[in-house]
Amino acid sequence: MATFLVILHGLLAVALLGSITHQAIAVIWPAQRKTGFVNAYRSVSSRAYVNANMVLFLAVAVLGSIIYPIYRVFIRTYLENARLHPAVGSFEVKEQLIAIGLGLLPLYWLVWRRPDPASKSARVAVTLMLCFIVWFSFLVGHILNNIRGMFGL
């Protein structure tokens, strides 16, 4: 069951990573024309991603919180015994960033619900912050999940 949840957590994280990166690129580097792959990637409607990103963020966070005890009891103990302190620290940072991201979701919903000039800087900032949180968390999770193979432990 735990393996299934980890894989599901990873798959949803991939979907979230793609979705929020797409939105962030369209926000900071928008394009009018859709000619070519890069322009087409940049010219999407950013608002269309909001609900999906919120649902995916919540789903990934909830799944992560369900499988978290397994990490705490078995994986972290192993990492500490192996003196892999940066790996332990990376997960600690990830855990705090996810929590801050959860607190940002209501603001993310607000600034995208009815985009107006007054909330433009907040819209850009919140989207980029969530994008950073998702990328950081994804990379840390991916590295920790494969740490024994990656570092020959």
């Binding site: 005890p69 603001l107 007054a118």
Partner: protein
Amino acid sequence: MKDNNIERLVPVFSAAFALIYIISVERNWALFTYHPKIHQWGWLVEPAKNGPPMYWYGWLVTSLLGASAVSVIAWPLLKSRPTQYWLGWTVPLLVMISVFYLFRDFFLR
């Protein structure tokens, strides 16, 4: 409550959530503790029983309740002002930066 009223509270909620969360982590203000090895929950902060205790869930709930309370308390100050969007992202951004500072020891050992 009208939509505009909720709009004014949301940035305060996000700012307060981040701030209360990081204080909860630093001071360990967990509303409850989970002992994963024995699948046991306990109120407030409990020491390790059999295996490591988990406070993360407790910190989240502390922050949720705290940020909700702050939003309600701040309401009289906000009702005559425009929505303070900047507050909702600058404070969490500073908290995010502080997280890297607070956990730096893991990377400097």
